[in-house]
Symmetry: C2
DNA sequence: ATTATATTCAACCACATGGTTAACAATCAC
DNA sequence: GTGATTGTTAACCATGTGGTTGAATATAAT
């Protein structure tokens, strides 16, 4: 039965399901960028990029500051931390399951030395 | 552009963008369940639930074992670890700690490719 | 052999998504 | 003011998504 703020996660995960949007997030992790900055690497219209940015904004993954005619976008850490929180529930589970694999990798590493 | 294995993440994030599917993942974190088990909490046809399960499967978030006429689904830890790996790049935004396990997982993932 | 159970598949539908182009709005530079 | 720059909005299109129902498949039970 779905949890309390699942509607948020819907938007967050949906936003992140597109490679263009993930790449934009990555760019914003370096520093703030304008809409055209974000759009420039992609072979698509500015309107299309603008839509992507709006999806990220609606998911609260980024924030926008309008200064003059330029819109400056920056990452909103809280957006991604929502994913982290969601994931943390499962983290124990899969870290446990991968324990054996870690050991294997460690052994392999020791052999190299 | 994006990165190499983005297509994986497309599927993973898309799969997780639906509340029904996230709830299914949550159920599977407890223990394995059959398709009807997974479907039963929801007010939708079995066929619809079956589709959801297939989306999770294609994203490699779960695995299926057919035994007789029942299909037993279990969580695939590696699926979620992909999300964690992706997320770990951004973790510095809300925490300073760097988990050693992340590094191990990253290495494991690199070796596979 | 018949019937019930577990699940998928195929066809269909309404709506969402990601892209386009063209028009609009606001700001800056001259 | 005129014109260029930055960005959004609107209308449109092809494809994808999540749901339905009904038929098909495979196995289990009697």
């Amino acid at each position: 039965m779905v949890n309390n703020h699942s509607y948020d996660l819907d938007a967050v995960f949906h936003a992140l399901s597109d490679p263009t949007r993930r790449a934009m997030v990555r760019q914003l992790a370096e520093h703030e960028r304008t809409v055209s900055d974000l759009a420039s690497p992609y072979d698509m219209s500015l309107a299309a990029a603008s839509k992507h940015i709006r999806v990220l904004e609606r998911a609260k993954l980024i924030e926008r500051t309008v200064r003059g005619r330029t819109h400056i976008c920056k990452l909103n850490p809280k957006g991604l931390s929502r994913v982290h929180k969601w994931l943390s529930y499962y983290e124990r589970f899969w870290t446990q399951k991968l324990d054996a694999l870690e050991t294997l990798l460690a052994e392999e590493d020791n052999k190299k030395k």
